[in-house]
Point group: none
Chain length 244, copies 2
DNA sequence: CCGAACCTGTCACCAACCTGTCGTTTGGCC
DNA sequence: GGCCAAACGACAGGTTGGTGACAGGTTCGG
């Protein structure tokens, strides 16, 4: 019951002692029980899903601070759940549990947006420490993982919001996706065709290339006054640059 | 300053007759001594802070079952400590002590999320009874009595009641559940679909998405005049924000 | 059992906003 | 100057959200 109190020594930066809301997606009963009991004893709220379907249902209704996700699930790959969540913009920290030792899996997991992983069998205290660390990080900086900063520009990919020198920018969906494209190759040149492909899905064939120019103009207007600018390289494309 | 430091155990093994962990914030020595002695005799753990600063430090590191908070503090208003804690999401039951008899203070305290109050001079046995009641309620149902405060809005999830700047709001069931949804991700954007799923159970499939908009309008009307507002983010969702 | 008061969700219509096109202008480059 | 890519004001749908009016439904008192 007593533990090494390397957990107890909370950094006195931000005192938040609310219970962590955890979603556990795990089909192995004894592992699940141990985790539920362990966190429950500390006052945290653990929802337990045994299948991918259950997990999807819970995720549709409830927000969690951390998701503990088994990579092996009966009705679907844990990796695909991870990928789906990230695609939907859910930035909740996810810790993957895997019985496999293959490096491939770990790489795939981290690559698709997992924040941490643990190889079974694991020490419960280590799991607790890692989950708590993830929750703390998420609380301190709600969007740590998905925020791109560039000069005085800050873009939250998950929340679809952006700010310039601290002031919120109101961007439409298209403007935001343009900004994403520019940011993806910040400092580098990106051709109009590349931008086009990122802004419009392949079935929107009727849209003219001029649309990109229009949105460049609109974005430029909204970026005025900041320390970033969109420069044109005739015949080559555009480039996001920081100045001053 | 801690008068009893056996609070180091982080794991709240809630066996029967478990000691209550209390934070007492009080600068009057004789009152503080009486309280510390009284609870200490029953085996409860009392941390004593004489100033707001001390209280903040303790709260940053430690979780308590109940906070006893003097409304008069040398270096800051007890009310602001209360408000800060609630804003940070700390739902620990708080009992306010006040020497003033003014109704204003009581209303302000309850409005900002205090769970109970006692007017000085008080009977020690009454204080004990109330603290014990608060601790019991918090233990039994972590969500019961959990009051969410946001700006001048105060929402009692268990009691299904809400108030704005002290005045009671009469909300219908649906309006309340909408408010709950908005509050659950206060400050952050919540999509119409998410709101829909929180407002309607999965078998209410015949309800149109327009219903959410209707209730947004109705809630907005009832929130008029307060310091909170529901902002629309086109294509993204809604957001509860505090202003002024 | 009736009616009043209220809650609930739909519909229709309006307003605000987003989007992409057109046509014209600008400005670099030969 | 002439050419051409890019800029941009103006505009016409299209889409999304807001809201008044309304018709069942429910609750409650008498």
């Amino acid at each position: 019951m007593q533990s090494q109190s390397h957990l107890g020594s909370n950094t006195p930066t931000h005192g938040r002692a609310s219970p962590i809301r955890i979603l556990l997606v795990e089909d192995t009963h004894d592992v699940a029980d141990a985790v539920v009991t362990s966190f429950g004893r500390r006052g945290d709220a653990v929802d337990h899903a045994q299948t991918r379907l259950e997990a999807d249902d819970l995720l549709a209704v409830q927000r969690y601070d951390v998701i503990i996700l088994d990579i092996n699930l009966p009705d679907g790959d844990g990796l695909s759940l991870l990928a789906d969540q990230r695609r939907e913009g859910n930035a909740t920290p996810i810790l993957m549990l895997t019985a496999r030792l293959e490096v491939d899996d770990r790489v795939a997991a981290l690559d698709r947006g997992a924040d941490d992983y643990l190889v079974k069998p694991f020490d419960l205290r280590e799991l607790e420490a890692r989950v708590r660390a993830l929750a703390r990080r998420a609380l301190r900086d709600p969007d740590a993982g998905s925020v791109i900063n560039y000069a005085d520009l800050s873009v939250d990919l998950a929340g679809q919001t952006a700010s310039l020198s601290g002031a919120a920018l109101t961007l439409t969906r298209r403007e935001f996706s343009l900004l994403e494209a520019l940011l993806a190759s910040r400092g580098r040149v990106i051709s109009k065709e590349q931008i086009f492909e990122r802004m419009f899905s392949f079935d929107e064939t009727d849209v003219g290339m001029n649309a990109v120019e229009i949105y460049i103009a609109r974005l430029r207007k909204k970026l005025e006054g900041g320390r970033v600018a969109i420069t044109t390289l005739r015949g080559l494309g555009y480039q996001l640059v920081a100045h001053e």
